[in-house]
Symmetry: C2
Subunit: 174 residues, 2 copies
DNA sequence: AAACAGGTGTCTAACAATTAGACAATCTGC
DNA sequence: GCAGATTGTCTAATTGTTAGACACCTGTTT
């Protein structure tokens, strides 16, 4: 597998879109670009997108990154599993933290290093979690809930919305 | 509820530990401090800790933050659900991203604003305490898996480790 | 010391969910 | 148009879940 599927690049600067098209052409099957953030969700509804590279400063006069956070949320709301990598000209720690808390996979500052950017995008797609069985998810959530209840099984069962006996059974089987 | 439990502050600067003791005394039941990172896991094994505030630059000559990442990983490995907030003197975006990717809840730069820091710690603990029923976790995981299979229910059921009929039933009930 | 409250481990019997297996109908790629 | 995969639906056997109950243990209150 030497291709990483379809990537969508959203930036209001046409020059950056062109640069990205060339930079990403080798690694990705298809490189879509748009200068209009409204198109992101539309495009994602029309065809499967494997990754989004999103500029944080769409409204040209605004550099708070709030615009980018808004579109990030819009993407994550509909497609929580599609990784979004953020791109910004302003190296702002608070913005990076906010972006990651809202589900972004990485945060890259302009000007970027081509090799570094490619490596980061590939890393994100490589690490993208494999699908786990329902049982494993259940087991993990039970483990964490019991941990949070400091070992109190009655309380854990109540929080989990199951009976204490069912919790016993699940613990035995898992 | 005007108390947020026990917080552990780890920083090799004694002055900062003292400052934190005073700053956090009102909001937290108990404020533990240590200048030795080895003590963090030891203390957490001895008593329940609700939150860790971790300095990123323990080895005084080193400012890469690698030391902090190491201890963050050590904490998260044993206690994945205990929130860890990072503290650093060097506003480094790459370090902040790495910290959050390794499970940190927030990232604060020195010098900090007292009110801002308190608010961030409280925010972390407020969202932390949300408890999710097993059904909701199940529902969410099913939704995501079906999404990833592009709507192919047979494939989704197989990945989830359940039968197609069971998947139908769960979709109806949830 | 006795009463109490909360948690544990275990059991039963009714009920609900899951399973394998089957079937025709529909969708999809070639 | 055809073959393979997917869907929607069904049955009967198996398994899991539930409410309720019981004795037991541990700390706390009276």
């Amino acid at each position: 597998m030497n291709t990483y599927g379809t990537i969508l690049v959203a930036d209001d600067n046409a020059a950056i879109l062109t640069a990205m098209k060339y930079l990403l052409a080798d690694a990705f099957d298809q490189v879509l670009t748009t200068a209009q953030p409204d198109d992101i969700v539309k495009l994602m509804a029309q065809q499967p997108i494997d990754m989004v590279l999103l500029d944080m400063n769409f409204s040209s006069g605004v550099n708070s990154g709030q615009e980018g956070i808004f579109w990030l949320r819009a993407i994550k709301k509909r497609h929580p599993d599609v990784p979004v990598v953020l791109l910004t000209a302003y190296a702002d720690i608070a913005l990076a933290v906010k972006g990651l808390k809202n589900g972004a996979s990485d945060f890259i500052t302009k000007p970027w290093d081509n090799d570094d950017l490619l490596r980061k995008l590939k890393d994100v797609l490589d690490v993208q979690h494999e699908i786990v069985s329902l049982d494993e998810v259940e087991k993990e959530h039970i483990r964490r809930t019991i941990d949070r209840c400091h070992g109190n099984l009655s309380q854990a069962a109540e929080l989990l919305g199951i009976t204490r006996q069912t919790l016993y059974n699940k613990m035995k089987r898992l």
